[in-house]
């Protein structure tokens, strides 16, 4: 990936290469951004905060997918099943064994990572959409297991309800309190994802994505790195699941659908595959599109003379599908690329290069 830096900024040693924030302006923007983000609970209503929280949870799941699919090129249509595993482990530990959230989180992560590793095993034999089929099987089988086996513990198709969790003695019973938990973890996940991309492991992932055989010839262990990618992806899913349980306080197998997994893949497509910024933009953009659909559905339905209540549910899928198709056709590199083009235009203006 070519790096387009502001004029006069060059790397002269390795230490500089590693710097994330380079100029004073960037520092100002970063701090400003963080301040705005973390003061949100002060001035937005809880319903908006609720959406922001869900965006945070989705972002974590999508970042995991981004590492597995965007970086490593291994397609997974089973992400929401892994999120389900994380959510169930944490809910069961909290409800049945009275674990605290912090004690249960590592267990949830470990269990999800193991399940992710198992689901990743076929990736050693098959690739491309054969692999997608393996994850499709996981997407069908995992929720089925949660719904039909050990129903005493999993609550069967009804699912599990938990009380509001508390951390460090504070009960997280409001959107504002959950906001800090979710977004601190989400930002940490983002930091990790950004760093991973620049590391040896990240470069190995990209090599595998670009050409598996070539990567193997160069000495990259496919076995190790593919499984590692699956594991990291499921760790993100596990964390997202744990936060989901804490946020929703009720989980059921039917919530973790193929639809959800595809929606997340769609967010990557719209945002731009292989780019962490893209993941963020995709998540937010599609959430906004959905809200936009809900907002215009009523008037549009009246305009077309539809019976009440039909337009809103129909418009959501139509908008989501069309947005994906439009991006695939006209901007397959996604919003991230559009942003990069804009940045480059802005920097070089009035020169065209």
């Amino acid at each position: 990936m070519s790096v387009d830096r502001p004029g006069g900024i060059y790397n002269q040693n390795y230490a500089q290469e590693f710097i994330m924030v380079r100029t004073g302006t960037q520092w100002v923007f970063l701090l400003l951004a963080l301040v705005i983000l973390f003061t949100l609970p002060l001035y937005v209503p809880g319903s908006v905060l609720n959406t922001v929280n869900f965006i945070g949870i989705t972002l974590i799941a999508v970042l995991g997918l981004q590492i597995l699919f965007g970086l490593t090129g291994q397609i997974s249509v089973g992400q929401s099943a892994f999120v389900a595993v994380g959510a169930y482990v944490i809910a069961i530990l909290i409800r049945e064994l009275q674990f605290s959230f912090w004690a249960a989180l590592p267990v949830a992560i470990i269990v999800t990572a193991i399940i992710g590793l198992i689901a990743g095993l076929p990736s050693l034999r098959v690739k491309g959409f054969y692999l997608a089929m393996a994850t499709l099987a996981a997407q069908v089988i995992i929720p089925w297991i949660l719904a039909n086996t050990w129903t005493k513990i999993t609550g069967g198709t009804t699912g599990i309800s938990i009380k509001a969790i508390s951390i460090f003695g504070m009960l997280l019973d409001s959107e504002a309190k959950l906001f800090f938990l979710i977004w601190l973890i989400a930002l940490f996940g983002l930091y990790f994802a950004v760093n991973l991309r620049r590391s040896r492991t990240g470069r190995a992932f990209i090599a595998i994505r670009d050409n598996e055989l070539a990567a193997e010839v160069m000495g990259i262990s496919l076995y190790r790195y593919k499984l590692l990618a699956f594991m990291i992806c499921s760790i993100y899913a596990g964390v997202a699941g744990a936060l989901w349980a804490a946020w929703s306080r009720h989980i059921a197998p039917e919530q973790f659908t193929l639809h959800q997994s595809v929606l997340w893949l769609g967010m990557l497509v719209v945002g731009g595959m292989g780019s962490n910024a893209g993941a963020i933009m995709g998540v937010i953009f599609l959430t906004l599109v959905d809200d936009f659909g809900k907002a215009i559905a009523g008037p549009l339905g009246q305009l077309l003379g539809m019976p009440p209540g039909v337009m809103a549910p129909a418009l959501g899928p139509v908008l989501f599908g069309s947005v994906i198709i439009i991006f695939l056709l006209f901007e397959p590199r996604g919003l991230a690329h559009m942003w990069a083009v804009f940045k480059s235009f802005y920097r070089h203006n009035p020169f065209s290069y």
Binding site: Q26, A33, L40, S47, V52, I55, R249, A277, P308
Partner: protein, 435 residues
Amino acid sequence: MPIVVLVMVLTIVIGCAPAAPTTTPAKPAVSEAQKPKEFVLWATQDLSGPMATGTLPNTAAMNDLVKWVNDNGGIDGVMIRAEIIDTRYESSLALSAYSKIRESVPRPAIYVCGIGRDALALKDRIAEDKIPTIVSSPITDAIWPPSWIFSFSPSWADLTGGYLDWLSNEWAKTGQSRACRLAIFNANMAAAQEMQGAEVLEYVKTKKNIEIVATELYDPKSLDLSSEMLKLSQANPDYMYGYYHPGTGAAAVFKSYSTSPLAGKTKISTVLWGLNSEIAMVVDPKMLEGVKGPHVLPPLLPGKTQVSKGMEWVANLFDANPSNPPQYRGGGYTSAILVFGIALNALEQTVKEVGWAKVDGEAVYRTLENTTRSNIHDIAVWGHSKGTRTSNQYQIMEWKNGVPMPAGEWTTAPDMRPAKFRTAEYGWSSQGWAK
């Protein structure tokens, strides 16, 4: 990198802007006239998920009912406005819809949650916010331990208990000495697991002449259930009971039944939606003939003639709105009239008692809690015993000549609450299965 964060934050900030609370034109509860300009009746429903085919008429019914109320002067002069939000059968959407609802000013005094499972995620929050909530068909966890959730129909377990009561009598009439062999065959969904749950299996032991010989769950999306039926037929059941809804494979159940060894030997019974006229849209009414079961809705028949004065009123309401498509004429429409009817009745009652100025969640809650039996517009009976939040009234219905018809009086269903709530603390009488 900071740019990334910046973009993220900016987009969130921008993103939040259009979603800001535009919901209610905020009118303070206590105006000079002590009356609000309008009252917003909030509801959530699955309009695009698996239940959609049955729930789309809900919205139509809600709007028709609210229009009728307003045309007749509103509730004590206050106009009602109904708002329904789609939750797509996903708790996350229910949660975000609810977080909008709770913020409207004044805080809603009542809220209708269409999907029982959505109510599970909201249970604690509703109690914290003191918003009494009405669900149509409840999942046990939503109503036990009691919270601010009231249910329009008895729980799945209660209805099954009611069915067992009826079956026991029915079997006694045949004069056979052996016990009735009952197979419970359900789609693999939350409702089903309660219809064959521990409480039901325990309750059936008190019925000497019924024996459950098989309990199976099937995939609601199966093309064909012949093989499943074949498995059931090995248990030689006299009756088969389950929740057969268009979304839970009713078509496949009845078609597969007709060619299976069960045909002719085993009688089918079903519950709630299986006894709504909508089923006849996907199942040949000839196959439905004679199917019986407990239900909470009277039928909305075609034409003017109805089973009761109340239903004539519903039929007129339906016909008065020409934009109602003919396929909406059925249980989905009636059930919404009743659910919203309960909500509006409770509201009206509360207004009568305390006046608009003092109407809030707690006042409506008290009204609902004290309503032990009410007749909603002469359409159906709703009520509950002290300490429970679910209705305990049902009626046996039967498919006759292609339409479901009442085949019995309104009856009180047994209270099939989970074992751990059968204590005096929750108003459980020590005499066993209370009515």
